[in-house]
Symmetry: D2
Subunit: 463 residues, 4 copies
């Protein structure tokens, strides 16, 4: 199969306007040196919109000759593209949304490298330092709206879902949009695109200019290319900062059916909300899907209560096949959030008060060793067990779709997970079901080969 390509030179629209010479220099050098592979692969992912691939390697393989350079011209910088996917051009003009995304990638890749990673003022070994870094990356991206009331709803769910789940996610988005709520997702297809499309129509009916925020990270962007509806795109440096960005900018979270990635996200938010330090902070969390997804959420609910205990149920609500109720519940929840922030003199645009344990913040690099040493025992406090489970899912996602993970598995065999049988059994049940329901990979792959094995122990650790 042949993939059409085009050359183009594009200018930014109003971003990257006032730059110092030093900054221009750093941008220019994104085209060369050690930042280049990252910049190139993220750019390519943005340009590949509409042709989602589960495997980032395939994308890079497909457009081997693709090249992108930052150049300086009169009154600012431009991007020079060679052999770029032709599908993002309309009659030779790049779609403006894609253009903006490319400059967002450039901005975030350079800013993170220069102003965060190589800046002694950010101590990424401390929780506060990481949170501060997340805040500065988001602010530099200009995505916070200081003057508006809370209205950002994070939508999570699978990128590879059946049509009825996709349509339902549009319905929910429509109901949220009709209620003047904005949408934030991980910005790929499926449950990440549906709510935005629905909300766009809802906003049009309400005559609102909505915000469609996409939060990605280099490891996932290739398989979750941002839809051009996304009108604020930010590339966080890693999974953990991406997750923190979701929960600190969102005023509510809606979870649609998904796969392992979605399970990871559910564990992440539950682990935070179950942290005793967050007990008084309101945070609306709703699991929802069409009638056909009722079984899915029963299974999820079962897994949560089996592992984290019945108490976990107080932190979420399950709504089946009722988009309007989801809309209403979210709106009510967001209003509670507003009142709480107002009462506690906290910002509306960033959830400073939420305590995020360092187990959720420190980047987890899934290796055979780090996977093996996860502490999947009931003796842990539920919010810490959630943290370990989150890492387990993260590792499985890597083993499934990320280049490094796939290579590691190819080389050293399956990941091993250790823990109580009362944790691993539910986990096994869940993962098996994901496989059966084809929620582990995009349906293009014929059969799923697991990348892990579970090794349970009867004796739990002492607590």
């Amino acid at each position: 199969m042949q993939h059409n390509v085009l050359d183009a030179r594009i200018s930014p629209y109003g971003s990257l306007d006032v730059l110092s010479r030093l900054e221009v220099g750093k941008l220019l050098s994104a085209s060369q040196g050690n930042l280049y592979p990252l910049f190139r692969s993220c750019s390519l992912a943005v340009l590949n919109y509409g042709d989602y691939l589960d495997d980032g390697r395939e994308l890079l393989e497909r457009y081997k000759t693709f090249d992108i350079r930052v150049i300086q011209e009169e009154r600012g910088i431009k991007l020079d593209l060679r052999n770029a996917p032709a599908s993002v051009f309309v009659d030779g003009q790049m779609i403006r949304g894609i253009n903006e995304h490319l400059f967002s990638v450039l901005r975030d890749v350079v800013y993170t490298d220069d102003a965060i990673n190589n800046n002694p003022r950010f101590d990424l070994n401390t929780s506060d330092g990481i949170t501060n870094a997340v805040f500065h990356i988001l602010r530099n991206a200009g995505i916070m709206r200081p003057l508006t009331n809370p209205r950002m709803v994070v939508c999570w769910g699978g990128h590879s879902i059946p049509p009825d789940e996709y349509d339902y996610s549009k319905d929910v988005g429509h109901q949220l949009g009709l209620r003047n709520l904005d949408i934030c997702t991980g910005c790929g297809p499926g449950a990440m695109k549906g709510p935005m499309k629905g909300a766009a129509i809802g906003h049009a009916k309400q005559r609102i200019k909505g915000q469609y925020l996409g939060i990605s990270e280099p490891g996932i962007i290739a398989s979750e290319s941002p839809n051009p509806i996304v009108n604020d795109l930010v590339i966080m440096p890693d999974i953990e900062k991406r997750l923190e960005a979701f929960v600190r900018t969102g005023h509510a979270i809606v979870v649609f059916p998904g796969g392992v990635g979605t399970a990871e996200e559910i564990l992440y938010i539950l682990g935070i909300l179950m942290d005793p330090e967050n007990s008084r902070i309101p945070f609306p969390l709703i699991f929802t899907g069409p009638a056909s997804a009722a079984g899915y959420f029963e299974m999820i609910d079962q897994f949560i209560t089996d592992t984290l205990g019945l108490v976990a149920r107080q932190f979420y609500r399950v709504v089946i096949d009722d988009a309007e109720t989801v809309g209403r519940l979210v709106q009510e929840g967001v209003e509670e959030v507003r009142l709480f922030r107002k009462k506690t003199d906290d910002a509306y645009y960033f959830n400073w008060q939420l305590k995020i344990h360092s187990l959720f913040q420190q980047p987890f690099i899934p290796t055979h060793e780090s996977m093996r040493s996860l502490d999947l025992h009931k003796g842990n406090a539920p919010h810490l067990l959630a943290a370990h489970l989150r890492r387990a899912f993260s590792g499985i996602v890597a083993g499934n779709v990320k280049e490094s993970g796939i290579l590691a598995i190819e080389e050293k065999g399956l990941f091993e997970l250790h823990g109580d049988v009362s944790v691993l059994k539910p986990l096994d049940t869940l993962l098996t079901a994901f496989v059966e329901q084809q929620r582990m990979k995009l349906p293009t792959a014929t059969t799923y080969t697991p990348c892990y094995k579970l090794l349970s122990q009867e004796n739990t650790q002492n607590s």
Copy 2:
């Protein structure tokens, strides 16, 4: 079946701001006297969005207790609604788009009555007088964009179409939106809604605030309630002024498959473009549909060439199942229009140069007599024959779905149409096909009963 209703009091958003006492008085009186039934029925149609009915009588029947009053409050007027359909409210708040539509109805009903009909300065017996009236109604509605380049694409087609035709109309809208083109339709469901939805997504990707113009008229609005995406709504006083509004504000026309109403529109535009006085005026006209609609357009094409001659073909292009090509052709055509207007110093916002024959302008009231006296003979110049055929279709639409027409048929029997067999035969073929393809009414009706009979003559008139 029960229909939920609500009471509400709503304010206009920025419209109807600076009014004289006299004007306020006229608005207040729209709630009483002879304007009230018109105002009430159009308002009800706007409020019934989402629950399309082919028969306006059914709507009025359903909401018998609905009442709407104009009231004067501090700093302006408001609308007081009783027993209004509940579906246009979100958590008790009326959707803003619907709110705007209600005030558009009020504005146009009162303006047309006061400033056009009862104004000696508009001579509605002359062609220029009618065109001037059309212009003033449109300007009073604030729908013209003097500072932008031509970009308005009129989309015509059926309100009751199969899913694949609907999806295709969205695809075309998406391609138009990606090319920064706006959409104008008759504002009901089906092919009138699809292009707007598609364009809305295309505009979002291009970061454009699009214009979605709906042009309706009192006789049709009940069965073609404006979608709230419509962000400019105007109610023209009758069919002919609505059609004139389409062709004078549009810079191109795209026709999707439809029924008799669509045939009426096709005859209307062809009759104008074939007028020798318009020979040098560029006007892109494209017939398009998905693969399944190929037969439909062959049939239309056959009917056109049979009745108006092969020469008619030079005025339109048929594109099957290729939304992107439609987008490209429209864009090229609109650019030609722009250059022509520029060269001839004509406005971009109103096609003053187009000659519209009075047969197309004078309101046609379908009665047994007026139908019988239509001149369906080949001896007519093609553009005049088109005018008579347009009227024939208009009468059939009335006999099918309009209260007055249905009553007339019930009382006096079928409409009779007289003409050459070389005209009536193709007409019969077309109408029969419409019936077979269920394009005559919404599919809810079980079988279609024709409202006409064709009486052909072998001898044509002398030319």
Copy 3:
């Protein structure tokens, strides 16, 4: 003395955008036929800004070869100027404010002629008809701000005043501007320019985009050319409609020292406020000037109480040399106006409730006969006596500075005014003082020659 002239072709900025062919035709014909002299002389007055002349004839004489034509070009109309005063160009470009004024003149001259004078829908023989005409001219000029709170302060006073009075008028304008109040004047030099300049600085300090409304009329514009700060200019068709425009759009009035024209304005507003039908309508009216003007206002106050009675004093306040107090009093008064309008559900943008007697509305053409027949007797109700006195002053202004008046005097001798000695004596005193203080004409004229004589009767009419 030579006057530099230039040719130029100018486009409108966003005004006159969406025009019908008929309207374009009417604009084009403003360059010819009976509207042309009016259009040309008003345009010339606008272009002569900065070089104020008391005598309109001198202006026409000076720029004999000046010509202005409306032409139609691609996408709209333009103005073609020949031999226009060079001083309104900066490096060959016309000052944008002047450009706007020229198109305002065109707009109002054509609109008044077409939509008011030649429109059977406006009955200018009735009080309501005149008020409606005033409203429509103002609305067509786009000068009303429906969404803002009341903030328009009308400033009256002489165009030919000493420097300390001018500086004081700037101080007052500054204090008004600091209080977010806008300024409306007759738009010439002196007390009509000072408050705008002061307010512009005050608005800049408060970061406000102020409205500087100039209301002129063809007979006065030559000697009161609009300052380019005026960002809303409207040309009313005659003196009376201009005065009505002042009092219906203004929320307060400040009067600075002036001459006969100012006296006319004082009588106008007092006659309205003293009308028993207006007794409950709040309307702040303040007479103010620097310390040197204390005597002037004592004289005015004396004249008012002598002719209209002590009761008149309750309708105005005199503030000497205290700009800040003027600012505070006006702001308080405007707030009272706001509350009153709110309570009575009246518009903020137009004072509909104010009753204006037809003696103030019907155009007064000063001739020997009309002047002679003025009814200057104490037997009249005070507000009617004020109306007659207003007309007397109006006639004297005409005899002093207007072409028609000057010619009449040259031909038939002085105007004669008849009335009670108790009215004419104060009038004589006041006029004599004006002469002595050189408030009758611009100081360029060497000596003032009266244009009237007063003929008093001992016997007053029965009351």
Copy 4:
């Protein structure tokens, strides 16, 4: 004399919106610790607008009880003021321009301390590091307009000037404003206020929202309180960075008559323009004043040619009593600047290419020792001699009006300046003339006591 004071709590308008917790903490701490005296004194200077004092100590003395605190309230920070000068309040509300200035002071004081001074990423020992710091302070203040063409004109001149010079500076500002040019000054009274007022009127006539940029520094702000017309205020950390900010943001410089401070500025810009490395960079520089100032500029011109050589004349033009010509020359010069920047792909908003020698960049602290060691010899290259002379003037300004300088003189006697007689003689002549013309201090001081003595040497250094 008593000074009225008020308490108030004020909110920022749109600035300081999205802050991290750390940043909020830093702002809060501006109210305490070592930043407080600086923050308080600059704030007081802003609040003392309109009552200019030459001596900062007097201001602090006058408002001993003044206090200002940063507090955190719902949704952001506020300023809490105690015993603040009452003159910046209008009916109890602080003038919005002053409000903005206070938050600008807070912003710059904290940013400079935190992000510049205590940031290892800025090496203030290098020329590039200083320039980068200047850029970042200006960008953080949001004063650069990346999308507009060059239009910023820096106006320098005395804060204490006679009325005719003040009026002339307004005329020049008016001519600049009419040409769509913006104004940047040091933001005090006199020649720093006149051009802004004039430009504000010019901009109003041209319907332009102008930029009025004030650049101050802590040592001078007390005697040069920003006029509230200033709509962009930035407080640079020291004299040298303030001067660099002027020449890097300005696209042209106009110098009005002034005193020693103005002489310092003239030497600064001449020293830069005469630097051989800048030889090809266009930079319009105009000295101008009313007819009465002709002698002043002859004196300046004489001093420049005597010390820097005749060659210096090619870098400036002297225009006497012709504001329009100044306007035209500036506009032409700015157009040249635009073409040059365009050709060299340099930013319009910051003059990166200008080489500024470190003698002009390194802060000069005038002490007896540093003054004595200035190298005022002809043997220096002219641009370096200019640098030393600039420092000499800077020291004299300090000795005249700055607290530290006055105390040093009181303690240790007069500053001594050493150099060639061919340099010191012209210097003596100039300074003596300044004294005679009362250009050394505000006229309130009765007589001027010099703070320096000149010690010339016959032998010049070898070159």
